[in-house]
């Protein structure tokens, strides 16, 4: 048996009752990660656009941060897809020979469009900074400064005009791009929902509400992640200042941070309510219409996956953070706990859609259970296991660390130092 080639999916699928011979959990953890990560990208971008387009001034601080963070998240939206492909070397084919009746074929186009918008918006927002750096570094000696200056020179793409008129155009361009970016970000993610919602063979996935549900929960998770990372970074900076003896500065940082978080939390709550309402509507509608598939869906939702859906997703991931955020006298710690729970809740929602949709057989006469590989013993069990998922989660933070070195997203701080 050892020499037998391994059937994809057999290592993590446990079948129960009657399941067709070829049915396995083909879409595993990486396909859970894919909508989760694109959701974070889209959500981060929407948060930044709230400032750039709708002029929510109190969001300025977090808007710049989330714009840069959405760039760091961007490559990671495609990473899970690459890790999941059986033929990863052919990953470019959807771009070369797109078959447009497929929802996936649009991925390359939507993704590239979106990437260009994010990149150019960042460029317009930071162009002045790049030019200033080129001039500032000219004075400084040393190889590292020379290299840094070269990077900034490349980043300016030869546009050195930072007159008032030019900067005005920059600002306008950034606003226009942010405005175009909102529908594109929603499309990027809504269409991830469409990929699932349009699979007519899958009783759980098939729903026209799927794209909208995906967008709402995307914005929720994106805002939550930006708020969370923002708090961690600001706390760290305040901590450093305090240790350096700057108690006053530390206090200023904390004050500004609280203001930003309060405002962002309100948007988070709004989108959270919208997301939960849509999901509830979907659930109630399925139960009320009770189509052929309802028997098996009910047994999965209220039976096998009850813990995952109603306890972990709805209660711990939605209800508890909602209460934590709404109750008066909110502290920073309580906010952080709520944010972590929200992020967890959205992850569980993706899990329950992707894995839950494969938890029952197409025959409606059996079940499949997903045992996520923990200790990998092959490339496949690494990629589609716990460590593969952790790799995907860790990458954006690493990328952000690098990008932030050249494009400081928390400028209040850099201007001070």
């Amino acid at each position: 048996m050892l020499d037998e080639p391994v059937v994809h999916g057999i290592e993590w699928t446990i079948k129960e009752l009657f399941v067709y011979p070829n049915e396995f959990i083909y879409w595993s953890i990486q396909i859970v990660m894919y909508p989760y990560m694109t959701g974070l990208v889209a959500g981060a971008f929407v948060l930044s656009s709230l400032y750039h387009v709708f002029g929510q001034k109190d969001l300025k601080e977090i808007a710049q941060f989330s714009l840069v963070f959405s760039l760091a998240l961007l490559p990671v939206a495609a990473l899970p897809l690459l890790l999941h492909l059986q033929q990863p070397t052919r990953a470019m084919e959807p771009l070369l020979t797109p078959h447009f009746t497929s929802a996936i074929a649009a991925f390359g186009i939507v993704f590239t469009t979106y990437a260009l918008i994010v990149l150019s918006e960042i460029w317009f927002v930071y162009r002045k900074y790049f030019v200033e750096q080129v001039y500032a570094l000219k004075q400084k000696a040393g190889l590292s400064n020379l290299m840094k200056r070269t990077v900034y020179r490349v980043l300016t793409i030869g546009a050195y005009d930072i007159s008032e008129g030019a900067l005005k155009i920059d600002k306008k361009a950034a606003t226009v791009l942010a405005a175009i970016g909102i529908p594109v970000a929603c499309f990027l993610h809504g269409y991830a929902g469409f990929i699932f919602g349009s699979v007519k063979a899958n009783a759980l996935w098939m729903s026209p509400l799927m794209p909208v549900i995906f967008i709402m929960s995307a914005v929720v998770s994106g805002i939550a992640l930006c708020m969370f990372t923002y708090i961690v970074i600001m706390e760290w900076k305040a901590f450093l200042r305090r240790r350096g003896g700057g108690a006053l500065e530390a206090g200023q940082i904390k004050g500004a941070e609280e203001e930003v978080i309060n405002k962002a939390a309100r948007y988070l709550l709004g989108f959270l309510v919208a997301a939960i309402s849509l999901e509830m509507l979907d659930l109630i509608f399925r139960g009320y219409t009770a189509m052929k598939s309802w028997d098996i869906l009910r047994s999965v939702m209220y039976g096998k996956d009850f813990m995952n859906i109603f306890v972990l997703q709805y209660t711990l991931g939605n209800l508890v953070p909602f209460v934590l955020l709404v109750l008066p006298r909110r502290t920073l710690l309580r906010t952080v706990i709520a944010l972590i729970l929200v992020l967890f809740g959205v992850f569980m929602m993706r899990w329950n859609v992707v894995i839950g949709g494969q938890a029952f057989s197409l025959s409606f006469s059996g079940y499949m259970h997903y045992e996520i590989p923990v200790i990998p013993h092959s490339l496949e069990t690494f990629k589609e296991g716990v460590f593969g998922a952790l790799t995907v989660i860790a990458t954006p933070f690493f990328l952000f660390w690098i990008i932030n070195k050249f494009v400081p997203s928390l400028r209040r701080d850099t201007e001070g130092s």
Binding site: F18, P21, R90, H99, A103, I104, L362, S365
Partner: protein, 256 residues
């Protein structure tokens, strides 16, 4: 200065666009080929399964695995046979161990003994790709690696499939799987290499009971096509709108 840079950029973009358009994208085909591609085919392959004749011996599954080089002991298979046992109490027991490859030699269904006295009806149902007229798998393939031939068979280009699994998810019949060795999507194609050369599919040839037969629906003299045309046949899961082309005789309401 600014102007010359603009010109330079213009020319660069234009030049690279032109050079990026490879001539190999265009293929010259002869007039005869073009006519053949455009004219309607004289063949529409279909399949007829007479469940009343199937004894569940599994020879079709064996033959298919050997003919199409699907690893013999792998759990996946291009065709399989399901056993249905309905008790007098109305409960239905279904199984298909190893796709029914070795026949159904055990009376137990998943270690459950069923009292023969309690059985209301029992039967076998062979399954294979339905070569749908409106195939969901072809619709969702992001690169066009799976496609429908002019005579109705859905094929897979192993050189072009990226292995995303979308087609596997889209098929309501669960006929698709990842080939354990090729690492691309795979499924039954009615033994296209055989039927295109005047032979029967491997499963049809190896069925000693005539439970499996292949038909050309566009041939008015095809005896199997005539059965499909004149007798009461049904298809699986027609609510999905895929227009399946495997027709069944004696399909029970319990069949999934």
């Amino acid at each position: 200065m600014t102007c010359s840079r603009r010109d330079f950029l213009k020319d660069t973009v234009g030049g690279s666009l032109v050079s990026a358009l490879p001539l190999s994208a265009f293929t010259l085909i002869s007039q005869a080929e073009a006519a053949a591609a455009l004219s309607e085919s004289k063949t529409r392959w279909a399949f007829l399964v007479d469940t009343t004749k199937c004894v569940g011996c599994g020879l079709c599954v064996k033959a298919c695995k050997n003919e199409n080089e699907i690893p013999y002991d792998a759990a996946v298979t291009r065709t399989w046979v399901e056993r249905y046992v309905v008790t007098k109490g109305g409960s239905t027991h279904i199984d298909s161990p190893m796709g029914g490859r070795d026949g159904f030699i055990d009376d137990k269904i998943r270690d459950e003994e069923i009292d023969p006295e309690d059985i209301a009806k029992a039967f076998f149902v062979p399954k294979l790709c339905n070569q749908c007229d409106n195939p969901a798998c072809v619709q969702v393939c992001p690169v066009g690696a799976t496609y429908q031939t002019h005579d109705g068979i859905v094929l897979i280009d192993r050189e072009w499939c990226i292995g995303c699994g979308y087609c596997i998810m889209a098929c309501p019949y669960g006929v698709r799987f990842f080939h354990p060795e090729e690492k691309v999507a795979d499924k039954c194609n009615f033994c296209y290499h055989r039927i295109s050369n005047g032979m029967d599919p491997a499963c049809v040839e190896n069925c000693s009971f005539g439970a499996r037969r292949i038909a050309n629906l566009k041939d008015p003299d095809d005896p199997v096509a005539n059965i499909i045309r004149t007798e009461r046949v049904s298809v699986l899961k027609d609510e999905y709108g895929t227009k399946p082309h495997v027709f069944y005789i004696g399909l029970d309401a319990e069949v999934r």
